[in-house]
């Protein structure tokens, strides 16, 4: 009702509305292409290099801009599913075309250069890729189809992998760097997952054990909340300082395999932060069953154990999965810092890149961390939704 009144009051906006997405995209394209660099040609992998603007794209550049505008036009024209699907396809085409154009341009740039030369994606290319991805996600959301986002992501990933296999990306410095270190990156990825998983399991188990101690719950809750305030770098530093102090006092512990550096302290520190999401999840999950249902279950003679296993836990499952999701994403992020205490993982590659000031090496460590957290976040939230739906019936 109020919206109708507002519309009558501002007729000028109504006429502009269908054009709004197109206008926003036009401004974004002009801003990115006009002010930011697309690629950088560097003499070797450690220097930043000289900037190359959007003019290197030639006609493909105009085609990408045109496709993006067309997608915006579809989105603005009407809010129907076919229009959103058309926009989705257009944005995906623009995204793939942009990646291919960038790689062709990169290959052309280094074609007549010495082998150490690198063509690196610059700020404009990254901004354009991120903006187009955001537009694609937006269009996928507008289709109103439940799995549209997943299918799009899977399709784009497959397309990118196929293009990588064909060797079209080989001109890019990132692909060169990856080929040089593929084994190390894969090992670090496995190590990173193992670190995060170990911390998640440790935190979940300690949380369940701590929760069993009924009398201490208040104090434990205060301690767990207080732990969140401690900065991660400080906790890692303090833990290493304390453990090495204890080891110096009792050298016998070294023989048991305890050490101040390595995966142990990192897992311990990560798990400390994960206690809070698990604690909240456990509290919420056990409270999720309605008191009436619990009373009814007691009345028909179920033991407390049966009530826990057959009533409280099934009803609380979505909340527990939610806690697992929050904790896992946190663990993946925190595990990056684990490399500070020599725990390895993708953080090790990031820190190596920072120490050498090699942008591609930093990206090689950073991109898998981001991808990993996004995949885990999305995946577990699908499980969470599924558990919630299956519960309702």
């Amino acid at each position: 009702m109020r919206a109708g009144v507002a519309r009558v009051g501002k007729p000028g906006w109504v006429g502009l509305r269908p054009l709004l997405p197109m206008l926003v995209i036009a401004v974004a394209v002009a801003g990115v292409a006009g002010t930011l660099d697309m690629l950088r040609l560097a003499a070797n992998r450690l220097v930043v290099g000289t900037p190359v603007g959007a003019e290197i794209f030639g006609q493909s550049g105009w085609l990408i801009a045109g496709l993006s505008l067309l997608g915006g036009g579809f989105l603005g024209a009407r809010s129907s599913r076919p229009a959103a699907l058309a926009a989705l396809v257009t944005f995906c085409a623009a995204l793939m075309l942009l990646s291919l154009t960038l790689c062709t341009a990169a290959s052309d740039l280094i074609a007549w250069q010495p082998p150490a030369a690198r063509a690196r994606l610059a700020s404009g290319a990254w901004t354009a890729l991120v903006l187009l991805t955001a537009a694609t996600i937006w269009a996928a959301g507008r289709t109103g189809l439940r799995r549209a986002g997943w299918f799009t992501a899977a399709g784009l990933t497959t397309a990118v992998l196929l293009v990588y296999r064909s060797g079209a990306y080989d001109g890019l410095s990132l692909a060169v760097e990856y080929r040089a270190r593929a084994a190390a990156v894969q090992a670090a990825l496995v190590q990173h997952v193992a670190l995060s998983a170990a911390a998640v399991v440790l935190a979940a188990m300690s949380c369940a054990l701590l929760y069993l101690w009924r009398a201490g719950r208040g104090a434990i809750k205060i301690a767990i909340n207080g732990l969140q305030v401690v900065p991660a770098v400080a906790l890692l530093g303090g833990l290493v300082a304390l453990v090495s102090g204890v080891l110096a006092a009792i050298p016998g512990l070294r023989a048991v395999g305890l050490s101040a550096l390595g995966a142990g302290p990192a897992i311990l520190a990560i798990a400390a932060y994960l206690l809070l999401p698990f604690w909240r999840g456990l509290e919420g999950a056990l409270r999720a069953a309605e008191p009436e249902s619990v009373d009814a279950a007691t009345a028909i003679g179920l033991t407390p154990r049966q009530i826990l296993l057959e009533l409280r836990l099934p009803i609380g499952t979505p909340i527990l999965v939610g806690a697992l999701r929050v904790a896992s994403v946190q663990a993946i992020g925190l595990a990056t810092l684990g490399a500070l205490v020599g725990a390895g993982g993708l953080g090790g590659i990031v820190f190596d890149g920072m120490a050498q000031f090699a942008p591609d090496l930093i990206l090689l460590g950073a991109l898998p961390v981001i991808g990993l957290s996004l995949v885990v976040e999305r995946g577990l939230s699908v499980v969470e939704d599924w558990a919630r739906r299956s519960q309702r019936g």
């Binding site: 770098v233 400080a234 992020g333 981001i370």
Partner: protein
């Protein structure tokens, strides 16, 4: 959280913060290390700890200010347009921003922005804005529609409804969001030491690299002390706000 639980919580944070601050003093840290049997090598002088703490606070404070202005401001704007579509976009953006840990932001910004403060500031912004924005939106939306309707019935303009009804009632929730942002910004500033920013994270990182236990212990307790003291300050502010509303 009710206000009568906030006061003891503030006092608890204050106490822990003060104890940790004492721990970061060179004499105390040396004696603790000696107690553990580790030889006390080259502790940081008290003046140096204070200097680093000042840098740390300046950087974290600047970041928090930007996060507060942008996060709360955008939150107010987002609740004005009252479009559901925006909420989905904000939630997605928040999930994506959360997937990029501060270390990674600092590392990615390093080649572009160079060493020191700028990459740290970027990480402060990238990591702090979304939780603040979400907290602000949540707090404003939690204001009961009755209060809002009463204001409209009294003939208040939309701006007056915002400043006289919504913001005071949502104040506690917004302060909670800012408290989380403050703790996050102190933690993120410590990570900035990896990019060469001179903060309390510096002695921790340096200590880890050259196996010097003392500065590591001092830096860790000073950083944690700052976080707890900041937490206590924000909790106390929440208590004061509550009192002034009750009156």
């Amino acid at each position: 959280m009710t206000s009568n639980r906030r006061l003891p919580q503030a006092l608890g944070s204050l106490g822990v913060g003060l104890v940790l601050a004492v721990l970061s003093h060179p004499a105390v840290a040396t004696s603790i290390a000696a107690l553990l049997g580790a030889p006390g090598r080259r502790p940081l002088a008290a003046g140096r700890v204070i200097e680093l703490a000042e840098h740390h606070l300046a950087l974290a404070g600047l970041g928090l200010m930007l996060v507060g202005v942008l996060g709360v401001g955008l939150g107010v704007v987002a609740t004005r347009v009252s479009a559901r579509g925006w909420r989905n976009g904000i939630d997605t953006a928040a999930a994506v921003a959360q997937a990029v840990p501060p270390v990674v932001v600092v590392a990615l910004a390093l080649p572009v922005l160079g060493f020191g403060g700028p990459p740290t500031l970027l990480a402060l912004l990238a990591y702090g804005i979304m939780p603040t924005l979400r907290g602000t939106i949540g707090a404003i939306e939690a204001v009961s529609p009755d209060a809002r309707q009463a204001g409209i019935a009294l003939g208040l303009t939309p701006r007056q409804v915002l400043t006289q009804i919504e913001l005071p009632l949502a104040g506690a929730g917004i302060l909670d969001a800012l408290r989380v942002a403050l703790v996050l910004s102190i933690a993120t500033t410590a990570v900035g030491a990896l990019a060469g920013a001179s903060t309390l994270g510096t002695p921790i990182v340096a200590g880890l690299q050259n196996q010097n236990l003392l500065p590591m212990l001092q830096g860790a307790s000073a950083t944690a002390a700052l976080a707890f003291l900041g937490d206590a300050l924000m909790l106390a502010a929440a208590v004061l706000l509550r009192r002034s509303l009750d009156r």
